[in-house]
């Protein structure tokens, strides 16, 4: 995974709370292979009408956001299902960071596992960032706001604002180093084996689920 240290990029403001995973990617697209690129499905039903035509009034469809990498939204972003496809849609579109006052727990771990930073700011800071973006967008039809996110310092900077953000420390380390969980765990295979041996003795009922119905039939 690509390490995430700092990022200066265009920021897309999504002035909405409870942007759930069904909105981030409607379920009907989840049978597609990842190789088709999930970016086209991001916020699909918000961006496209029932004839699949891009709705011009939706800001994310404007060319100035084609290379946006940061999104700022309101509370409870990514609530709902465990579909990692919601993160694939963001990442494949080009997003590397979402800033919000709170995230769905499963969404956050999925994000980190795909190198997407879920940066937690206060409600008032999220509001400030959205307003800053909106003001800029109201005064120009071509420019997009630029924001800088520094993970080492845990600071978001834009214009004259300097906003601290939170991220679980283990996730911060993982993102900074671009670490992958499976590799981290494989070096611990000895301690897993050791645990399993003891666990078999302490919890025999948990380790070998047997189908008693089939046993009853074959007896």
């Amino acid at each position: 995974m690509t390490p995430f240290k700092q990022l200066e990029a265009k920021c897309f403001p999504l002035d909405a709370a409870n942007v759930d995973t069904d909105q981030l990617i409607p379920a009907r697209f989840m049978q597609e292979s990842r190789s088709v690129g999930y970016g086209q499905f991001l916020l699909h039903d918000l961006r496209f009408d029932s004839n699949n035509i891009a709705i011009e009034a939706v800001m994310l469809n404007q060319t100035r956001f084609a290379d946006a990498s940061i999104m700022v939204a309101k509370r409870n972003f990514g609530a709902g299902s465990s579909r990692e496809a919601a993160v694939y849609a963001l990442v494949d579109y080009g997003f590397r960071c979402v800033i919000a006052p709170s995230f769905g727990d499963i969404f956050s771990s999925n994000a980190v596992n795909n190198g997407l930073l879920p940066a937690i700011v206060t409600e008032s800071d999220a509001q400030k960032l959205i307003e800053h973006c909106d003001n800029l967008l109201a005064n120009s039809t071509t420019d997009a706001p630029i924001i800088s996110v520094n993970l080492e310092e845990q600071i978001i900077r834009c214009a004259d604002m300097s906003i601290p953000f939170e991220v679980t420390s283990a996730w911060r380390t993982k993102l900074l180093n671009g670490w992958d969980d499976i590799e981290l765990t494989q070096v611990r295979s000895k301690s897993i084996e050791h645990f399993y041996l003891n666990y078999q003795l302490s919890s025999p009922w948990a380790v070998e689920p047997k189908d008693n119905n089939i046993l009853a039939v074959t007896r």
């Binding site: 759930d20 499976i182 948990a206 380790v207």
Partner: protein, 474 residues
């Protein structure tokens, strides 16, 4: 020894290692996969890794299965392929699969408990957020994403930061017809759709003890709708009685020994929680969602909220958006809202008890709008048919389907049309959840049945007696 919560005890028993950064490497007892798990299997393939403990992973076809019949040709090719990929992956890795044609197939969160794969004190994960359901039997269970599914397949473990803990104590007797679904919608409306974020929830109190296991499964199922990491009810005699004789539960003396251990999995009297919430059962009525977040729920006898009365401007904006999407007017009576179709199904409310409660309302009555009943599992379907519930649904005018996730998430093509309004026994009223532009009102199965009879949101306790209806008809 320090005082521990029931959650602490299970967590500790599964900690393989605690890393310097505070994350725990957790042993996974049961892992469920479904059609959507193909991303995870692809990740394994890309690294050429085997499944480390195939005997602890179980596959169930549920999200994409056809429910009008069991014929794959009912589905578009891509959906057929999803079911085939699950089957291929399970076969390749030696994973036990309950496929489309298995008599024990069903929605994974219905199948796990009814087969005794779900046991108290176990740590269960699945790539589905409603895995919290299994907490109703005293398991620590939650949903994970595809990368984590791949990790569990490869190592039978999972890295986790220990969540905070929250206890919701509900005491008192529920009013007649008020169910676990109403308890859940009530407390989520009270505290918010992200109120339990980062927390493991223990449900306690006399009301919870009095719930059936099926009710407890429903209550825990909806924990995720408040953002909870998991929801759990400590095992008791009721839990043991439920599990005894289940296909994959331990037998004989093994069961007795396991049972003795399970009954120790309770919160110590002096243990503390990060947050305590007390709710009185007497305050809970039949509860229905009006908006697009599970927190936007009100008692059936209320008026649709008015954004000008919202506590702050952000909430007012949210309510206005919800009202627009739902096509509702502030101040209108919830019971005046007309419904286009109904759905009884899902991992939330499609167990036998749920079907019985809906059938009780429909017995001798006719539906004025179309709808589907999809049992939570093929076993539930067989039991329901054995007691004649299918005939009640069919005679009332509803479609009796096979088991699967069906219209809860619409992946198999069971969809609500744009702008249509559905009374649904499911778990999410998100925008577009049941189809693009679909409008969902969540409620208990009996309330869904009542909406089917009247064509509008209805307090089922106020339906005229059946014999009265028949006299009028004559």
């Amino acid at each position: 020894m320090s005082q521990q919560t029931f959650f602490d005890k299970i967590w500790q028993a599964h900690e393989v290692e605690v890393a310097d950064d505070g994350q725990s490497l957790m042993w996974v007892d049961r892992h469920f996969v479904h059609e959507g798990s193909f991303h995870a299997f692809n990740k394994l393939k890309a690294r050429n890794l085997p499944v480390s403990h195939p005997e602890l992973t179980f596959g169930v076809a549920d999200h994409y299965v056809p429910t009008r019949s069991r014929s794959l040709s009912d589905l578009p090719l891509k959906s057929q392929n999803m079911i085939q990929m699950l089957s291929d992956n399970a076969h390749e890795h030696g994973i036990k699969l309950f496929d489309l044609h298995d008599a024990r197939q069903g929605i994974v969160h219905v199948v796990g408990p009814e087969l005794g794969l779900t046991l108290p004190g176990t740590f269960i994960v699945c790539g589905d957020s409603h895995t919290s359901t299994h907490g109703g039997l005293g398991a620590l269970a939650f949903g994970i994403g595809a990368s984590e599914v791949a990790h569990v397949l490869a190592t039978q473990t999972l890295w986790q930061t220990k969540p905070k803990q929250m206890r919701i104590t509900i005491d008192g007797e529920l009013a007649e017809g008020v169910t676990a679904k109403d308890i859940a919608l009530h407390w989520i409306a009270l505290l918010g759709a992200d109120s339990a974020r980062g927390h493991a929830i223990e449900y306690a109190g006399s009301t919870v003890s009095a719930l059936s296991i099926e009710g407890r499964l429903t209550l825990c199922n909806l924990s995720i709708e408040a953002g909870g990491r998991c929801g759990m009810v400590a095992p008791d005699e009721k839990t043991l009685n439920y599990l005894q004789g289940k296909a994959f539960a331990p037998c004989g003396t093994d069961f007795i020994q396991a049972g003795q251990h399970w009954l120790t999995l309770v919160t110590d009297t002096e243990a503390t929680f990060d947050r305590e919430v007390h709710i009185s059962a007497a305050d809970i009525g039949p509860t229905v969602t009006w908006g697009v977040s599970p927190e936007e729920a009100i008692s059936v006898n209320s008026l649709i909220p008015d954004p000008t009365q919202a506590a702050h401007s952000a909430k007012a904006q949210q309510w206005t958006n919800s009202l627009n999407y739902m096509g509702l007017t502030a101040g209108q009576s919830l019971q005046d809202v007309l419904i286009d179709r109904v759905f009884i199904g899902s991992c939330t409310n499609a167990r036998l008890e749920d079907l019985r409660s809906a059938a009780q309302v429909l017995q001798g009555r006719k539906c004025v709008i179309p709808g589907i009943v999809s049992p939570g599992s093929s076993s539930v379907k067989a039991l329901a048919e054995a007691e004649g519930l299918d005939s009640i649904f069919i005679n009332a005018g509803l479609e009796w389907h096979e088991a699967g996730c069906s219209m809860c998430v619409g992946m198999n093509g069971d969809l609500i049309g744009p702008g249509e309004r559905c009374a649904s026994s499911t778990n999410r009223n998100f925008k577009g959840r049941q189809g693009p532009g679909a409008r969902t009102h969540l409620m208990s199965p009996a309330m869904v049945a009542a909406a089917a009879v009247t064509g509008r949101i209805t307090d089922f306790r106020q339906l005229p007696q059946v014999d009265v209806i028949q006299e009028t008809a004559l």
